[in-house]
């Protein structure tokens, strides 16, 4: 069972709210600017993600989507 955070790089404004709010502290500000010049967030270690979706709840720009791969997928 694996949780996946899908980051829409173009919608991210690098505000850092998800980085702050993630209870596992596995999101960080990336080093690649998107087309607007924002350094979109990046996932450090997807395997540690517990799928709580706090990052999605706190994101003001709907840049994050959270999915869960069922066993055997």
């Amino acid at each position: 069972m694996k949780n996946v955070v899908k980051i829409n790089v173009e919608r991210c404004k690098s505000c850092g709210l998800c980085v702050h709010t993630c209870p596992k502290k596995i999101l960080k500000i990336g080093d690649k600017p998107n087309s607007k010049g924002f350094y979109a967030v990046e996932m450090t270690d997807q395997s540690l993600c517990i799928g709580c979706a706090f990052c999605g709840l706190i994101c003001p720009d709907l840049a994050l989507e959270i999915y869960r791969e069922e066993k055997g997928e």
Partner: protein, 252 residues
Amino acid sequence: MKTIFTKTSGLTERPFHYCPGCTHGIIHRLIGELLEEMNLIEKAIGVAPVGCAGFCENYFSCDMIGAAHGRAVAVATGAKRARPDRFVFTYQGDGDGASIGLAETVSAAARGEKISSIFVNNAIYGMTGGQMAPTSLVGQRTSTSPYGRDAVTMGFPLDLPKILTQVEGAVYVASVSVESPQAIKETKKALRKAFQIQLDGLGYSFVSILSTCPTNWGVDPVEALDWLTTKMKPYFALGELKTPALEGGSNS
């Protein structure tokens, strides 16, 4: 692949224009989700204010009307009285709803207009560049209170939800905030209840939401969450300040 969290169809595809970390976006998401979850997208008519959220008609999937500054609640009253079968909500900032539009808000509440008002309180005028608002805190520096809001000459912040609890026609008044996932979930519950109360035709519902303005507060988005928590929350009355007394009041 099971979806845990994704964008609601209650919002359009248009990215938000708000500043990085501005929590207007979170509030928009909650409203969009409720429009979808409560099957209101085709029934809803939203009234946009003038202010940072003055462009929100591009973000909500339902029909929207753009009101003059301060007049959203009067516009919504006109629309709801014309089409009582529709779900009508207003989205306003603290200047729009508690300064220039104060009379419209209080009068609609007194009349028990069957509309739902969302009042986003970030204690500042955002769009015009950070001026003092009716809800700016004592001592708060803004571009028009550069030495800090001085109560002697500029008075005290106005706690609009607390005032509205005294108004008969306002049957549901909540004061919530969006600085953390827990607070965001509480806000969604309050909004759902307010919307349901309109659908049940019980009277006026009003949800005040403490929100951040990193750009004009002069802090980064994460610090702004802290400023909201440590400075704003202690001043304003919080929680469900008034709920319908009737037994039949639906709180599904």
